[in-house]
């Protein structure tokens, strides 16, 4: 089946990547290690780099997207240091000569990519990157996979990029690849959220996740989030419909 990505999920924000098979209890699920391209009037920003093995595909997708002449890809924001999020860092810097700055909590990259030390820009919650007609603002990471995790928001279209937050797989066999969470009607979000937590978010099995989802709802309200663009899950465009299912899935995952 042809890869349905890239897909423009809101004006100027493209969803990039390809599915990765996950085997669990006799079933083959699909999940993403996605990247996103945010196009501003003066410069563009790549969020995440994808898994090391996704580089060729994401690179092809980025090159197929027609950017405004004055909006080159100058910025890369990475939510955290795990390789499915940051493994393409070195190759993107080599491939895109206009890409000048790596943003985020830049811990460890001086050890992993020492040749790009001068391009690292360490950020804190509240810091912003200006792309001309839109800003990308760093916000509190509520569900995190490392102590260094940061989340970001495209303030123009109110898109939250939560990295490993909202991590869930989808059903290739039911045609969910490339769809939003709401378009994937047969997707049992409670189940796939619990399965992903079981496999990849170890700590959530031991914690009362209601506490974290409560805080997540406060962040969504504070920043008036309209769309959620997770790295591993399908994009969420109807938060009030989908978030309660995610909550149930996270709470259901138990040791």
């Amino acid at each position: 089946m042809k890869n349905p990505l890239p897909r423009e999920i809101v004006p100027g924000v493209f969803w990039l990547g390809q599915c990765l098979e996950q085997h669990f209890q006799g079933k083959v699920y699909h999940a993403y290690n996605a990247a996103f391209l945010i196009i501003g009037s003066e410069s563009s920003l790549l969020v995440e780099t994808g898994h090391p093995g996704d580089f060729a595909e994401i690179n092809r997708q980025v090159k197929d997207i027609v950017l405004p002449k004055e909006s080159k890809i100058e910025h890369l924001f990475i939510t955290h240091q795990e390789t499915p999020h940051s493994g393409g860092l070195g190759r993107f810097l080599e491939e895109y000569s206009d890409l000048k700055t790596i943003y985020g909590d830049t811990s460890d990259y001086h050890l992993a990519f020492p040749e790009h030390l001068e391009k690292l820009r360490h950020m804190k919650i509240g810091d912003s990157i200006n792309l001309g007609d839109r800003d990308f603002t760093v916000v509190e990471p509520v569900i995190r996979d490392m102590r260094t995790t940061l989340w970001g928001v495209d303030m123009k279209e109110r898109v939250l990029f939560p990295g490993d937050g909202f991590a869930y797989s989808h059903y290739h066999w039911d045609g969910h690849c490339g769809k939003t969470a709401e378009e994937a009607e047969s997707l049992d979000l409670i189940d796939v959220s619990a399965v992903f937590a079981e496999r990849a978010l170890f700590w959530t099995k031991y914690v009362d996740m209601n506490i974290y989802v409560d805080r997540l709802e406060e962040v969504i309200e504070e920043f008036d989030i309209k769309v959620i663009a997770p790295t591993h899950g399908l994009p969420i465009k109807n938060i009030s419909q989908t978030l309660p299912k995610i909550r149930k899935g996270l709470v259901a995952a138990k040791a």
């Binding site: 090391p52 080599e94 490392m146 170890f202 700590w203």
Partner: protein
């Protein structure tokens, strides 16, 4: 700074710890952001004359030195297996491709197929990767080193943040604990990078602070009893005389090992939801 590095030989040449030192200045995710001083990344070569197993491959900033360290131990044709204890972590996978290009890497152990896909950080149209054969394991599992019945146990870490494996080597009674028991950073780059029996290492508050401010912020008020049960199981099943963590000083000696386990278990008991109220922990809180 000068690059401090060291090969620490353990158990009469059965294990070589490739220790490469880096400064702690808030830029290393494995440590609390306020920790200053030095730590080291530890890659362990479990060695037999007819085969070797490398646990973790180190940061790419240490690539040249790690290749030199391996060259000083291995013959070019020694069959070498690689086992990254955390496949999503740069310290575990950073030099796998470089090592496979220089040495006789016969396989990479993993729970997923096609590890080349996970280990390649440099391939472009002009730069080609080397295919590394993958041996898929379902954990817990046994791994053979060489052909003389040296077998180690590989299993899921009983406490972890990202997907992590531990390894126990019965021959040397060494537990390779990845990012757990990694709290012993040092003030000086010279170490000591192994803590021996006659030195007091253990401190409840120090260890608790390390855990809560690095990978385990979520322990406060969590259901920690299953974690304690799994940790107890490991120490019941395996006689551990040395703890070999992925970062920081190696802990050597039965008395020290027992103290470390007791301290970890005590902290987990005190953090349990029965004793500590659960609460949301903000990213930037240090306690």
């Amino acid at each position: 700074m000068d690059h401090y590095q060291n090969i620490t030989e353990l158990s009469d040449g059965k294990i070589f710890a490739l220790q490469n030192i880096f400064p702690l200045d808030g830029r290393v995710s494995a440590y609390p952001s306020s920790t200053v001083g030095y730590s080291c990344s530890n890659c362990y070569l479990l060695y037999e004359n007819d085969g070797a197993l490398l646990l973790d491959t180190g940061y790419s900033s240490h690539e040249d030195i790690i290749l030199q360290q391996l060259s000083s131990i291995l013959e070019p044709n020694t069959p070498l297996s690689i086992f990254p204890l955390r496949i999503n972590e740069f310290m575990s996978v950073g030099n796998a491709m470089a090592i496979s290009k220089e040495f006789n890497v016969v396989q990479c152990y993993s729970h997923v197929p096609d590890m080349s896909f996970w280990l390649d950080f440099e391939t472009t149209e002009s730069k080609k990767a080397k295919l590394i054969p993958t041996t898929v394991l379902k954990f817990p599992s046994k791994i053979e080193i060489g052909e003389k019945n040296r077998i180690v146990d590989a299993f899921g870490a009983p406490i972890q943040l990202i997907a992590t494996r531990w390894v126990y080597d019965e021959t040397t009674k060494t537990l390779f604990s990845s990012d757990t028991f990694a709290q012993y950073s040092q003030k000086n780059a010279q170490g000591p990078w192994i803590i021996e029996e006659n030195k007091k290492s253990n401190n409840y508050n120090f260890t608790k602070s390390f855990l809560l401010n690095s990978r385990y912020w979520w322990l406060e008020g969590a259901n920690t009893l299953p974690l304690i049960k799994d940790i107890n199981e490991i120490f019941k099943n395996f006689e551990v005389q040395t703890i070999a963590p992925g970062y920081g000083s190696i802990i050597n000696g039965k008395k020290l090992v027992n103290e470390e386990f007791s301290t970890l278990k005590q902290i987990l008991e005190d953090m349990d939801q029965e004793k500590t109220d659960p609460s949301y922990i903000h990213r930037d809180i240090e306690r």
